[in-house]
């Protein structure tokens, strides 16, 4: 009984309710134009590009750190990819893809190294400067031109391809999430990450190599950013140095909506997946209804705050009521 109660009181159910609510609202408001197949089509925007970055952002948030350089990392790695491929140097596309991933890994490792070496500095400041640096390098490579002309299969197959009626991109994400779920929530190394984020001093005293965990996670975050960037490039078809600007805040927002906390030690893969679905439903509906990105941002902001605020308030009221009850009881005992 107690276990069942705890299962239903989990954060994820709130997100499920919100998804159902949003879906019901828009299908009631715009019957016919807000349908499931259209929603599936829309998934490429939110669930893939931002999805990978949100997974990475969640990993970093579990550690209690923050990384705002992911969008720049993505930009730099796809810049490297597109230039290496289209510069006529004869590099095959597979190698260019590998180069993009390598650049992402390198960027992430630099972040991790700096964060662990200079513990006095807040990760936000380090990643703020690397954000400018990575995009600055992309700017040096590409100037203000755009590079592109990728092979056919990259755009047609990966970017806009479908298997049945399910976009290929979505399948890639749907494979990623179970892998991350098992790793993070069902293995010892996943538990170690949570331990590091909950209390880094205890974790170190318990014999965990916290610095190494951090560096590895930041590196992984860079890799995820590069993967997100590759998917983004396959959709846009060309690369400019401004690609993906502002994605880092969206990624962090989605991770927080999915139950991660900037204080560390909290986060859930299922939550991130659900909040991605929620965003997709909301974005699609609002774009059809208002076609206005500002309204969309406004509602994302309201959602982000209220989803954290209301459980907090409910919690506080409950605590106060318990306190009053205990006071009444102790007064009666006297």
């Amino acid at each position: 009984m107690h276990r069942a109660k705890r299962f239903f009181l989990r954060w994820e159910w709130l997100l499920v309710l919100l998804i159902l609510g949003v879906f019901a609202f828009f299908s009631w408001k715009m019957p016919g134009s807000y349908t499931f197949p259209k929603l599936l089509d829309q998934t490429r925007v939110y669930m893939v590009d931002v999805g990978f970055m949100a997974l990475g952002a969640m990993l970093i948030l579990i550690l209690g750190d923050i990384d705002i350089s992911v969008a720049s990392t993505a930009a730099l790695s796809v810049t490297a990819m597109s230039v290496a491929y289209s510069a006529g140097s004869g590099m095959p596309f597979g190698a260019a893809l590998a180069l993009a991933l390598a650049v992402g890994i390198l960027c992430g490792w630099i972040n991790g190294y700096l964060v662990t070496r200079f513990k006095e500095l807040f990760p936000m400041i380090i990643t703020l400067s690397t954000q400018t640096i990575y995009r600055g390098i992309a700017y040096i490579i590409l100037k203000d031109q755009s590079a592109g002309s990728f092979p056919q299969w990259f755009a047609k197959g990966l970017g806009y391809g479908k298997i049945g009626s399910v976009p290929v991109m979505l399948l890639c994400v749907l494979v990623m999430f179970p892998v991350f779920y098992v790793w993070l929530h069902r293995t010892a190394s996943g538990r170690r990450i949570f331990a590091t984020g909950t209390n880094i001093v205890t974790a170190r005293y318990s014999g965990l190599r916290t610095d190494r965990t951090k560096v590895i996670l930041f590196t992984l975050n860079g890799l995820l950013a590069a993967v997100g960037g590759i998917f983004l490039a396959s959709r846009t078809g060309s690369v400019k140095y401004t690609i993906g600007t502002g994605y880092e805040m969206q990624a962090i927002g989605i991770a927080v909506l999915g139950g991660a906390s900037t204080a560390g030690g909290k986060g859930s893969v299922v939550g991130v997946l659900l909040s991605l679905v929620l965003m997709t439903c909301l974005k699609n509906g609002l774009m059809i209804a208002y076609n206005d990105s500002f309204i969309l941002n406004l509602s994302i902001g309201v959602l982000l705050i209220s989803v954290v605020l209301f459980p907090n308030i409910a919690n506080m009221i409950q605590k106060r009521r318990q306190l009053r009850k205990r006071r009444v009881e102790s007064a009666a005992n006297l």
Binding site: I66, I68, L114, F118, E120, L121, F122, M124, I125, I126, L128, S129, T130, Q131, T132, I133, R135, G136, I137, Y139, I140, K143, M249, I252, G253, V256, S261, T262, A263, D292, F294, I295, N297, L298, S299, I300, G301, V302, L303, L304, I305, V308, L309, N312, I313, M316
Partner: protein, 350 residues
């Protein structure tokens, strides 16, 4: 007094050395950089950043952070701009041109002081919302202000009905606000000095100001000493909001244009200025002098780079150099602190 004890007492000296080094580097390449006029211009150009940074310091002191200041600036400038546009009227004023009295039409609107109060009021209101959600709703500051950033830009868009406020909608007094000079020094610099002095006095000599440090360094202990920690956090955000409102107006007057995405992304510069100036992001440590110097460092970088006469290929290196210099400034500050601590320990034979 030995040099290192001086360094420990006034850690801003390290920052001054960095600024001097930067200035020296740029003037080696371009002697025109090291002139009184240029230096004054840099201070003038950095003034708004410094004003924002003093507000940000208050928020960082209590262990909070505000990344919604871009939205606050946009909203308060936009609301003020709309008030100004609606009250705009042409008035005929007698002016002296070459000793001859002539009648000129001057655009008039709500008096400047009222406009400033409206802007700061709207900003403070945003600060109240931020502060109450953080202090009383117990939502983490980054989450709250990230959400508010989205919300405020959205509200600005709705309030403006997707129309920017242009120079033709501004009163003469508002346009001249940031262009007027007193004793040969620009009004923005004076405003920065005034804000800095007020803030310095507030956080140094006033009890409420000292509470900001108390809450930031140990909230629990402060609470036990009878400090209302939640009200103090709220106050810090209100100060930040009011200051951001003022800064929004300064930007609006300087650019003679109020758009709905006014200065988006500027918050990161402001936080960088604070951190370079030695404000701890975990709260409880920071000084106005440091923050001003931190803002000045960024100002010197931003103004120095175009003076480096980088042409052709090198033009594209600016962004990289900007980020790299911020990183170097922050890291060298840390290394200097570590050296100081080591020196301290050695002196006490530990």
């Amino acid at each position: 007094m030995p040099f290192y004890t001086l360094l420990i007492k006034y850690r801003e000296i390290g920052l001054i050395a960095i600024i001097a080094l930067l200035i020296a580097l740029v003037s080696l390449r371009n002697p025109l950089f090291l002139t009184g006029d240029k230096m004054l211009f840099i201070v003038e150009d950095t003034a708004v950043l410094a004003v924002l940074a003093t507000g940000m310091m208050c928020v960082l002191l209590v262990g909070s952070i505000d990344i919604s200041i871009g939205g606050i600036m946009a909203l308060s400038a936009m609301v003020t701009g709309i008030f100004m546009r609606n009250a705009l009227s042409a008035a005929e004023v007698e002016v002296l041109v070459d000793g001859v009295r002539t009648v000129a039409t001057v655009k008039q609107s709500i008096p400047l002081l009222w406009l400033i109060l409206i802007g700061m009021g709207v900003g403070a209101l945003c600060g109240v919302v931020n502060g109450s959600i953080i202090a009383y709703g117990k939502v983490l500051p980054i989450v709250t202000t990230l959400g508010m950033q989205y919300i405020l830009y959205g509200v600005t868009h709705i309030v403006s009905s997707a129309q920017a406020v242009y120079k033709k909608d501004m009163s003469e007094a508002f346009v001249n606000f940031t262009r007027s000079e007193f004793l040969g020094i620009n009004a923005k610099t004076w405003i920065m000095l005034a804000v800095a002095v007020i803030m310095y006095a507030f956080v140094t000599y006033f009890r409420t100001g000292r509470h900001l440090y108390a809450v930031g360094s140990n909230a629990e202990a402060a609470e036990m000493r009878g400090v209302n920690t939640r009200r103090t956090t709220l106050l810090a955000h209100v100060i930040m909001g009011a200051v951001a409102g003022l800064a929004g107006l300064l930007f609006a007057s300087h650019d003679t244009k109020i758009t709905q995405d006014l200065k988006s992304g500027y918050e990161l510069y402001v936080i960088a200025a604070c951190v370079i100036g030695g404000v701890s992001v975990t709260g409880g440590a920071g000084r106005i002098q440091g923050v001003l110097l931190g803002a000045l460092t960024i100002g010197v970088i931003n103004n120095g780079l175009p003076m480096m006469r980088l042409t052709g290929e090198a033009e594209f290196w600016k962004k990289l150099i900007q980020g790299g210099l911020i990183l170097i400034a922050v890291v060298s500050n840390v290394l200097m602190q570590r050296a100081m601590v080591r020196q301290n320990l050695r002196r006490r034979n530990i």
